[in-house]
Structure formats: C-alpha cells, structure tokens
C-alpha cells in the first residue's frame, strides 16, 4: 500500500518504464495467471502507487503490448542461440522447434499472452509480422533446407511453398506447446521424448520423398 521505491532523480523518470515492464513479466511468470496481474499488483511489485503506471503507459493494453514485444525478442534470441548449434538444415529446424517448445514450457504465461490470447495485446497483422524477427528467421531456416534440397515444396511435395511449410512446422510446435500448457492434467507420455517425436514427425512430413527419414533428430 505504501510505496517503497526511491523516487528517481530528475531526468531519470524513464527508469520506471523499464521497471514496470520487468515487474509485469515477473508477475506473469510467478503467478502464472494473467488475471492476477492487475495495475494494482504491478504497482505494488514495483513499489509505487497505481497512478504512477499511467505516467509511462497510456493504458494497460499498451503496457502488456510492451511486455509482449520484450518477450517476443527473448524468444527470438533463444531460437537463434539454438540454431547456432545445428549441424545441418534439418537439424536446425528440429533444434529451433525444441527451443520453441521449451521456451513455452518454461514461461507458460508469457507464451499464453504471445500466442494463445486474442489479437490483443499483440496483433499478428501483416505490418507487424515484417519486424517479427522470430518468424522471419524461421522462414529463412526453412528456405535454407529447401535450397539444400532436403526439404521439398511444390509439385509432389506436401507444402507448396516455404511459408506454408513454416506454418506446418509452427502448427506442430505450437500445438504441442499450447496443449501441454493448457492441459497439464492430460496423461502425457514422457515430455522430452514426446517433444522429440512430434517435432521429428513434423519435419519428416515435409521431407523430399525418398530422403533419409532419420536425420534431423
């Protein structure tokens, strides 16, 4: 109730902006419940009073939007890090998928606001997707696998283009992640093996017919 944070010095008011975003992300992770993350709870976590939030964000949606952008960038970084260890284009797709699922399982409430909630706070409109680095990077990785001749698109293949192939992989990874998050009580088999098998099946489903089914694992 009583604020505990030491007031910023003059000219350093912007410090609170970053603190609010960080506290919101932390509250989401700790409570695992978006509805528990109210303006009052955020203000309390930062150590200020609720109206202070409005000195830095026009409304709650804008704040959650800022959190989404931050977490989206964190996801991209995780995927890029995972991709660096890859030995070949198929292995990269598998590693990216595994890193994606793990990001979701480690930060379920962050994943929820990014990919499971309605368009608000973050929209996936065409304009926004152009600077959605994580998705662009994934399309590029798929294109590299196509260029390497190991993943197939077009005549006789399952997918007609790199975009559709990327969405197919995304659907598998997101489907598994969101089901694991939403339905933890389901009698899931061993999670690690499940992730591996689901992603392997997803990549295998896009292989050029006759290619080695065992690679990419």
């Amino acid at each position: 109730v009583t604020p505990t944070r030491i007031r910023a010095r003059r000219g350093e008011g912007e410090l609170l902006h970053a603190e609010i975003v960080a506290a919101t992300a932390r509250l989401l992770a700790e409570t695992g419940d978006e509805s528990a993350v109210s303006i009052r709870a955020i203000a309390d976590a930062v150590g200020v009073t609720p109206p202070s939030i409005y000195l830095h964000f026009p409304d709650k949606t804008a704040l959650l939007f800022a959190v989404c952008e931050d977490r989206f960038q964190a996801l991209d970084q995780r995927l890029e890090d995972a991709a660096r260890d890859a030995t070949d284009p198929l292995d990269e797709l598998h590693r990216r998928g595994a890193a994606y699922v793990r990001f979701g399982l480690e930060n379920p409430e962050h994943y929820r606001i990014l990919f499971m909630d309605r368009d608000e706070p973050i929209s996936f409109s065409e304009e926004r997707m152009t600077d959605a680095a994580a998705f662009t990077h994934m399309v590029e990785a798929v294109q590299r696998a196509i260029d390497a001749g190991v993943l197939a698109v077009g005549d006789g293949a399952t997918a007609t283009d790199a975009m559709t192939a990327t969405i197919a992989l995304w659907a598998s990874a997101h489907g598994l992640t969101s089901l694991l998050i939403a339905k933890p009580d389901f009698p899931w088999p061993s999670i690690n093996e499940l992730i591996d098998q689901v992603l392997r099946a997803a990549v295998y489903g896009l292989l050029r017919a006759g290619a080695d089914a065992g690679s990419g694992a």
Copy 2:
C-alpha cells in the same frame, strides 16, 4: 431486466437446466467472447433473473463445465460423421483432422473453452479422458492405420506407439486451429489449402518409410 420466460409447470423445473446450457453456448458463439458471457447475460438470454441459474448449477464453473461436456460431444459427433466417408485408414485420419479444424473455426469460442483455456472448467485428467469419446476414437483410428501396415510405430518410425502418434496428429490439428483462432490478423495463405497441406504433412510424417506419400489427401 424483467423476466420474459414463462415459468415452468410443477415437476418441469429441469427444463430450465437445458435452456441455460443452450443459451450459454449460444452466447459464446454469438459474442465470441467468454468474458461477455456473465451470469447476468445468460439469465437475460434465457429470460429469467440471475438467481434462477443457481437453482440448477452450484456455481458458474459447473455451468461452463456442462457446456463443455455438451460441446465435446458435438465435436465427437462431427468427427464420427467425417470418418464414415473415409475410403481408407489414412484418408480417415485426414478427414478427422479436417473436421476437427473446421469445428474449431466454426465455433471459435467453444473451441477456446474446450482446448485453449486453463484446466478449468474442463480438466483433461486421466479419469476424465477415459470417457472423452473423441480422443479415444482418434486413438482407435490411428491403431487401425497401424494395423493396416500403412502407418508406422516403433523401431525406425517417428512415433513409438499409437498414443504418441495420435498426439502428434492432434498437435498439428490443434496448433493450426488455435493459431487461426487466436491470430486472425496473421497473413495466412488460403485457409482451405493450408488445412489440407498441414494435415497432409502431419499424416505423412508418421508414414511407414517408403509408403506412398500421396495417399490420405
């Protein structure tokens, strides 16, 4: 505000129970927003006052649970109907998948409460899954494809068993459905072709190596 429904005759009080469930499902479909479906809104849609709801359900969760059971059964029926038209086991898996996605797209808010919300109101715990007909039927369909020798599990295959293979297919179908529902602003390619390709890739990813990649479409 003023109730419009004609009071049930004595002994027919249970009629309101079904009317409440139906009105709740209808409100979910019409508003497309679970938060708009309050006890007051439901009572208003039925033509009674809010306290009347509590004559038939202990609380709101129990009401939503009843709605979920109803919609879950509707989903199962749709999948069974789709399966009846199948020409072979792989075609059945594809048709079940397509029917699943279409059910979600036609009833996005119903799909949301069934598969995208937290465990509440409906839990997917082991006990509950035993009578979750839709899932059991899907596992059986996968088993038929395995028995027919066209879908592979175990050594050298992507999936180790029918359960895991079913989850892989479910992940693809659910992933696509939930992304389409949650992110309608994304620059999706043609929906019908997208559904077809994603499901084809999902089934293909589980084929016995060397089987015809073209079937099941």
